[in-house]
């Protein structure tokens, strides 16, 4: 896969889908995200993001999860289509 498909969750656009490629965080953060089903390989869709560095909402496993901006910035997504 070409490298340019990788993008942080914060920079992904609303409505776009992709797969979690990597979580660049400490163990605590990875554990908390994993508990909510956010693990590498999982398909997600971005539902919204608040302005002013607000949280990002995504859909994962038919459930929705809101992730603070800082944390969302460390989640790397492989986009479905090359744009």
């Amino acid at each position: 896969m070409p490298h340019r498909d990788l993008i942080t969750l914060t920079r992904m656009q609303t409505g776009q889908s992709g797969q979690v490629a990597e979580i660049r965080g400490g163990f605590g953060m990875v554990d908390r995200l994993n508990a909510l089903g956010i693990i590498p390989g999982k398909r997600i869709t971005k539902i919204s993001s608040m302005f002013a560095r607000g949280p990002v909402a995504i859909e994962v496993d038919r459930g929705q999860v809101a992730i603070g901006y800082g944390m969302a910035n460390k989640i790397i997504i492989q986009l479905d289509q090359i744009r």
Binding site: T14, G28, D31, R32, L33, N34, A35, L36, G37, I39, I47, S48, S49, M50, F51, A52, R53, G54, P55, A57, D61, R62, G63, Q64, V65, A66, I67, G68, Y69, G70, M71
Partner: protein, 569 residues
């Protein structure tokens, strides 16, 4: 006695299931994290009586929060685990299930929210799932009771299937293959509820929805509260109860110490229920006719917002603002609870991760979030002088909340963790559940408030007749009169505010304050010091040192704000 544990992710219906099994009502809310202290009850299994425990929601047995830590500890004490699985999101629930199976405690799975699977086009092959897991799997609908009997009958058949201990990756892989073979999803179009769901976390439509929801909430609370007072409780007190009071007053000779405690001051054959300060007059009128109507209307609306699942969305929308205050969006939930009563609000700050956040959130609640009892009195007494004065009180408290939060955020060391929450789907809650919760909360108010209110009235009468208040009033006059511009007798109200804020505000009624003085007094009363019940939970939750810091902030903030209002208005 054998112990049965209800274990599962947050918000999958454990608490509703618990009350189905035991008849004990645990609070159910459509947002994660409400069951932090656990609830226990009992269930008859044939001849045997067993204990049932509603364990705090957890996603994993590798704890990532305090609540999960507690859940893990409790797990070791159980004989049987009822694993409550969300049938509409098995992917997320099964991780915990696999971990539970590895532990070796007998497990039975309640596949709850079964009713929701049909709407969502989810088809689950139960027999295959049973085969994979090796334990009984019973579909249930906790809110309607469907499947509960089946579940109880199968509890003795709970088994421990000797599952191999897996690594994290292996568990996820196992879940993947279970889901592939057990679950079939039919693609459907989004329902209007789902569209509304997405819209309410988007900045623009979400913001508009929030404004509409909050305005409607306010109007409905006002409408129900006022109607109950105007059409039910005032007529009851004025037409039925007042004659009884007059009759009793005459019987007791119309004056004297005992008369004043029981009936209060009755001038010229007229009862002034607010100002007379007897046990049978203000002692009943304040809690039942002034506060109770607003308790009912507030908790009805809050309960609806909770059970529909709106509050986590508000948390998402408010996240940025809450970060200015050193908190994250989820702190909006304790804050809203504080508008009902500060006690559960302070307890709910446990959903926040760090001590720092809990300190900031509970201090802000104790200072700037007036409880429903106090608000009811503000509406009753300040509202009489004009809506603009009520608006000034609320506006001031809101500004204090923001400014103080910003100050605390800079002054208290540490940082604010990030928001990370599951946003539950919107659900139309059954009325039975909503009303049951409302009743629990109203009953809780009556049971806690009435004894303290009656006690406060006795204390007030005694202090008056011993002239203690006069002595204190002269002593504190420089602050109360000089700084706040209030008559020196107003200090009595501030002191009684330590017992009950509603009674305290009522004590201002006979003082003939100007509207401006009433505004200053209400704000200072709201901020000055928490009532004793809040004080006790603050002590328990924060410890002495933080409580003292918190109290210091309160007194300072109250005096500064009151003094400024006195100057500006």
């Amino acid at each position: 006695m054998r112990k049965i544990l209800l274990v599962g992710n947050p918000n999958v219906g454990k608490s509703v299931l618990f009350s189905r099994l035991t008849g004990v009502h645990a609070t159910a809310s459509n947002y994660p994290g409400t069951t932090i202290s656990y609830t226990q009850g009992f269930l008859k299994l044939g001849e045997e009586k067993v204990e049932v425990i509603d364990v705090p929601g957890t996603y994993t047995l590798e704890p990532t929060s305090e609540a999960e830590e507690i859940a893990l500890q409790m797990l070791d004490t159980g004989d049987i685990v009822i694993d409550v699985v969300n049938a509409t999101n098995m992917e997320r629930s099964l991780y915990l299930t696999l971990q539970l199976l590895e532990k070796g405690t007998p497990v039975i799975v309640a596949l709850n929210l079964w009713d929701d699977t049909k709407h969502r086009g989810i088809d689950i092959d139960l027999d295959k799932l049973r085969e994979f897991l090796g334990v009984p799997v019973i579909p249930t609908v906790a809110v309607s009771g469907e499947g509960i009997k089946d579940l109880v009958e199968h509890i003795p058949k709970a088994t421990s299937p000797d599952a191999p201990v897996r690594t994290r990756d292996e568990r996820w892989a196992t879940i993947g293959s279970i889901i592939d073979q057990v679950q079939h999803i039919e693609h459907r179009h989004h329902t209007w509820l789902e569209r509304l769901q997405d819209a309410s976390v988007k900045p623009l439509p979400g913001g508009m929805i929030a404004v509409v929801v909050l305005i409607c909430a306010f109007l409905v609370i006002r409408f129900i509260g006022e109607s109950l007072i105007g059409y039910v409780l005032d007529p009851l007190f004025n037409n039925l109860w007042a004659p009884v009071v007059i009759w009793l007053s005459n019987l007791m000779g119309g004056s004297g110490f005992l008369h004043d405690i029981v009936v209060g001051t009755v001038a010229g054959g007229e009862v002034n229920f607010v100002e007379s300060f007897g046990l049978l007059t203000s002692g009943l009128y304040v809690p039942f006719a002034m506060v109770l109507p607003y308790i009912i209307s507030f908790y009805l609306v809050l309960g609806l917002l909770e059970d529909v699942g709106y509050l986590p969305r508000l948390a998402v929308l408010m996240d940025t603002v809450m970060h200015w205050l050193g908190l994250h969006g989820y702190a909006i939930i304790p804050t809203l609870l504080g508008l009902g009563c500060n006690v559960p609000a302070v307890l709910a700050t446990r959903i926040l991760e760090s001590k720092r956040e809990r300190f900031i959130a509970s201090t802000l609640v104790a200072i700037a979030v007036p409880c429903a009892a106090l608000q009811a009195m503000i509406f009753g007494l300040v509202g009489e002088r004009g809506g603009q004065y009520v608006a000034i009180v609320y506006g001031t408290l809101f500004v204090v909340w923001v400014i103080l939060g910003i100050i605390l955020n800079h002054a208290v060391k540490g940082f604010s963790p990030e928001l990370l929450i599951e946003i539950p789907p919107y659900r139309l809650p059954p009325w039975r559940i909503v009303l049951q919760k409302l009743w629990m909360r109203v009953y809780g108010f009556l049971a806690e408030a009435i004894p303290i209110i009656l006690g406060a009235i006795v204390v007030i009468n005694m202090l008056y007749s011993l002239r203690v208040f006069d002595a204190i009033a002269s002593f504190t006059a420089p602050v109360v009169t000089g700084l706040l511009g209030l008559p020196k007798e107003a200090v009595t109200s501030l002191i009684i505010g330590f017992l009950r804020k509603d009674v305290a505000l009522g004590m201002l009624a006979p003082l003939a304050l100007t509207a401006k003085q009433l505004v200053v007094a209400s704000v200072v009363l709201a901020m000055f010091f928490p009532c004793i019940a809040t004080f006790v939970v603050l002590l328990r939750e924060l410890g002495v040192v933080y409580l003292l810091k918190s109290a210091g902030v309160m007194i300072l903030a109250a005096l500064v704000t009151g003094g400024m209002l006195n100057l500006i208005l």
